[in-house]
């Protein structure tokens, strides 16, 4: 990123006030149906359309992709403006964006590795949620061992012919495009070579999708089969054979280890303050949970960690305070925030006494069983985008310098 122009504090304060006003006036009221926890669990058309309309409204107002170049549909403004929008959306827990694979992962890699033609073709419809994106990295036999992908893309004239199966494809049934990692040269020396990164069309007669049901009972992800699917060579991002490097860059964006995302929220924001509220409402053994010393202790532990995560996010932008391990905070963010979310949601359920057993739909459930679902869905973040165990390997090897196993 090039150096950004200085923006005056007055301009920023004015902008923040404008954003708050806009959000107040334009955030749609909660729908009659239940919204999912994130874009990963979109299970019905009404959820999909609601979230798509919201993203479109935000983009049309100029509050999404604000730092992306204006010639490709972005706002062409300094990142700080998008940061303010994101902050305010998080503070008010406004709805999240739908097209996350595009906005946060595919978009930044297209900006980084794509041709101008690709940027012009894909970015604006992505920002407006006119075209939905999904990700084709994992396969049934290759999850954590991503470089071992078996899906092939064989050159045939001006096209590639794709065969194989991708799995855990969120928004796979609604998506128009997939960021796809496929093997173009099966004879290459190592598993990391011979991989190519595609911006593949998936609303395609030879691409078949099978929805997979989650432990929560929701849908959202799919198995995606490519049966001799023919795609034009113009779908290749970067160069043939450069797939692994681009996939790694994608994961850095996905894990927020690198900035440049379009912005907006990617899931329901959960705060310790909500647990404190719940501990005031819920009773354990006949007393308000908040009076229980064990509950108080854990709430304090969670509050301290929540604050540490917030402060890490500020400190990581001050290089002089990160000299020892410049990449550590960025690279550990996904591990730390996802594990924190799991621990927090698990504890939230425990505040409910015997009602903790009730699930969404039961009239006696606390907060309609949302926390039970939050807890189960928390695993989507500790597993998706590279499991916590893989994150620990990356941090141990890349940041601490320990040998590979």
């Amino acid at each position: 990123m090039s150096a950004e122009p200085e923006v005056s504090q007055i301009e920023l304060d004015t902008f923040r006030a404008e954003v708050c006003r806009w959000l107040d006036e334009n955030t749609p009221s909660a729908p009659a149906f239940k919204l999912p926890d994130s874009f990963l669990e979109v299970s019905s058309d009404e959820q999909f359309e609601y979230l798509r309309a919201w993203q479109r409204l935000v983009y049309d107002a100029g509050y999404l992709g604000m730092s992306w170049p204006s010639e490709f549909g972005g706002g062409g403004r300094p990142q700080i403006f998008q940061d303010i929008v994101n902050d305010e959306m998080a503070a008010g827990n406004h709805p999240f964006m739908l097209n996350i694979v595009g906005l946060m992962w595919a978009g930044p890699v297209i900006l980084k590795f794509g041709s101008d033609e690709q940027r012009r073709r894909y970015l604006a419809p992505m920002l407006r949620a006119d075209e939905i994106w999904c990700q084709g990295f994992s396969e049934p036999e290759n999850g954590s061992d991503l470089a071992n992908v078996q899906t092939t893309a064989i050159r045939d004239g001006d096209d590639y012919i794709i065969n194989g199966t991708k799995i855990w494809t969120s928004l796979g049934t609604q998506a128009h495009h997939m960021i796809l990692l496929a093997r173009t040269d099966p004879s290459a020396g190592t598993k990391y070579q011979g991989l190519t990164f595609f911006l593949a069309p998936v609303d395609h007669p030879d691409v078949e999708k099978r929805p997979i049901r989650k432990m929560t009972g929701e849908f959202g992800f799919n198995e995606t089969h490519f049966n001799n699917a023919r795609v034009p060579a113009s779908c290749v991002l970067g160069e043939e054979g450069q797939g692994w490097a681009i996939a790694m860059a994608t994961l850095a964006f996905e894990r927020y280890a690198e900035g440049g995302q379009a912005g907006g929220l990617d899931m329901v924001q959960l705060r310790v303050s909500e647990l404190v509220e719940m501990a005031r409402e819920c009773r354990l053994d006949g007393r308000p949970a908040i009076e229980d010393p064990v509950v108080r202790e854990e709430l304090v532990r969670l509050s301290v960690e929540e604050r540490a995560i917030e402060m890490n996010d500020l400190r990581r932008h001050i290089p002089g305070l990160c000299r020892e391990r410049p990449d550590a905070i960025g690279l550990m963010r996904k591990l730390v925030t996802s594990e924190f979310r799991r621990r927090m949601t698990r504890f939230a359920v425990s505040l409910q006494g015997e009602a903790a057993k009730l699930y969404i739909g039961d009239p006696g459930a606390v907060e309609d069983g949302d926390w039970q679902r939050h807890y189960m869905n928390a695993y989507s973040v500790t597993i998706g985008g590279g499991t916590s165990q893989i994150q620990m390997n990356i941090l141990g090897e890349r940041v601490l310098g320990l040998d590979k196993g």
Binding site: V276, R280, P288, I290, E291, P293, R296, E297, L299, V300, R301, S303, V304, E305, R307, A308, I309, M311, N312, L314, R315, I318, G320, L321, E324, R325, A328, I329, M332, L335, V336, Q389, M392, N393, L395, G396, E397, V399, L400, G401, L402, D403, K404, G405
Partner: protein
């Protein structure tokens, strides 16, 4: 709105020169030599530290200080923690700050330059045999007797009590907390007993005050003592938190070095996930500690006496404490049998962590206070009775 985390060039300069100094002058071997001596520190090195300006880093220039803030001060303390450095630095720093907070002009002008220049060593006598971390109800008493103040009772855990020339003794006078300056020469040798500490690089003492009598001008009269003591308690927690953040980083480095050289089953042991993954969480703990520590010092320097500052300092001590005690625990285990030998430096960190965790409040103590601060509208559990 104040900056959330401040950063300045001065701070970076001090942090890097402090680290260089500590690494070159305070090797673990040197620390082991000093810990065998009665005083526990090297007086020549103490003079050098004074010349570097560290003893008055956050005090005004008119008393010989550097006029900087807590932010620069903790950079030095973090570096000390990394090398398990002892010395009366903490004792002397807190004595100077308490004098600055509660002393009158004459007292400050007389004593502060001596403490800051290192010509005299100061300490604070706060704790008592109850072991309570919330100071205030002192059983040690002061009574006015003509032109003299007569003291009774006992003070415990007095940092470098045996090394100090000057003690700032917290006690109660007419039911209110006060601070009295007691010179070492005013305390009979038999009244001072050096305590045996888990951390052998540290020194502390127990002092019987019965029969000690000092001129009434020794009473600090510059400001309300209870306010000053509350502030000093927070500063103590902040400095020990910085020391623990530094020690956690130091023991992380020490353990990593071992995991990168020790070979078992034909592989460096750091390649095994059973060791690698816990090391990552130790690193996460250190990163969290630093972020919360720098947040607390930023608020300190912004001049707050607010609840927000108290909250931040307590969070910092909780986090550094948890991170450091965990890091030293795993350091012993991951060094294998060598880990629980005297010769393995991990024991230095382990013992330091035990000392630091229980100095100015352990994590559980600060969590109880935080629960009062965070959930104050709810039927409060009494901190003292829990």
């Amino acid at each position: 709105m104040a900056e959330a985390i401040s950063f300045g060039e001065e701070q970076e300069l001090i942090a890097s020169s402090a680290l260089d100094f500590m690494r070159s002058r305070c090797s673990f071997e040197a620390v082991r030599e000093w810990m065998e001596t009665e005083a526990g520190y090297d007086r020549a090195l103490w003079r050098e530290i004074a010349e570097l300006g560290w003893l008055g880093i956050s005090l005004p220039e008119e008393y010989g200080g550097s006029g900087l803030g807590a932010t620069e001060q903790i950079s030095v303390v973090e570096a000390m923690g990394r090398q398990v450095f002892g010395s009366p630095f903490l004792a002397n720093t807190l004595a100077a700050e308490l004098l600055y907070l509660a002393g009158n002009d004459e007292q400050k002008q007389h004593w502060l330059p001596q403490l800051i220049s290192g010509t005299r060593v100061g300490s604070v006598a706060l704790g008592e045999s109850s072991g309570a971390w919330d100071f205030g109800d002192f059983t040690a008493r002061a009574e006015l007797d003509g032109s003299q103040i007569r003291l009774t009772g006992e003070k415990c855990f007095v940092l470098d009590g045996g090394n100090a020339d000057l003690l700032l003794v917290a006690c109660s006078l007419g039911g209110k907390p006060v601070v009295v300056i007691v010179e070492r020469s005013q305390v009979p040798d038999t009244a001072l007993r050096v305590e045996r500490l888990v951390d052998e690089t540290r020194r502390s003492a127990r002092i019987r005050l019965d029969g000690v009598s000092v001129p009434k001008e020794s009473l600090l009269t510059g400001a309300d003592a209870s306010g000053a003591l509350r502030r000093l308690q927070l500063k103590g927690a902040l400095l020990v938190s910085a020391e623990m953040a530094g020690a956690a980083q130091g023991v992380l480095d020490l353990t990593l070095e071992y995991l990168k050289t020790r070979v078992q089953f034909g592989k460096k042991i750091g390649s095994y996930q059973a060791l690698k993954h816990p090391m990552v969480w130790i690193m996460v703990g250190v990163e969290h500690s630093r972020s919360l520590l720098y947040r607390a010092t930023t608020l300190w320097d912004a001049g707050g006496g607010s609840e927000e500052l108290e909250n931040a300092v307590r969070m910092s001590k909780v986090q550094s404490g948890d991170a450091c005690t965990h890091a030293v625990d795993r350091a012993i285990q991951f060094h294998g049998a060598f880990g629980f030998t005297w010769d393995c430096h991990a024991q230095l960190f382990f013992r330091r962590a035990q000392w630091a965790e229980y100095t100015f409040g352990d994590a559980a103590h600060h969590r109880r206070h935080l629960s009062e601060l965070l959930f104050k509208d709810d039927a409060p559990l009494s901190v003292s009775s829990s």
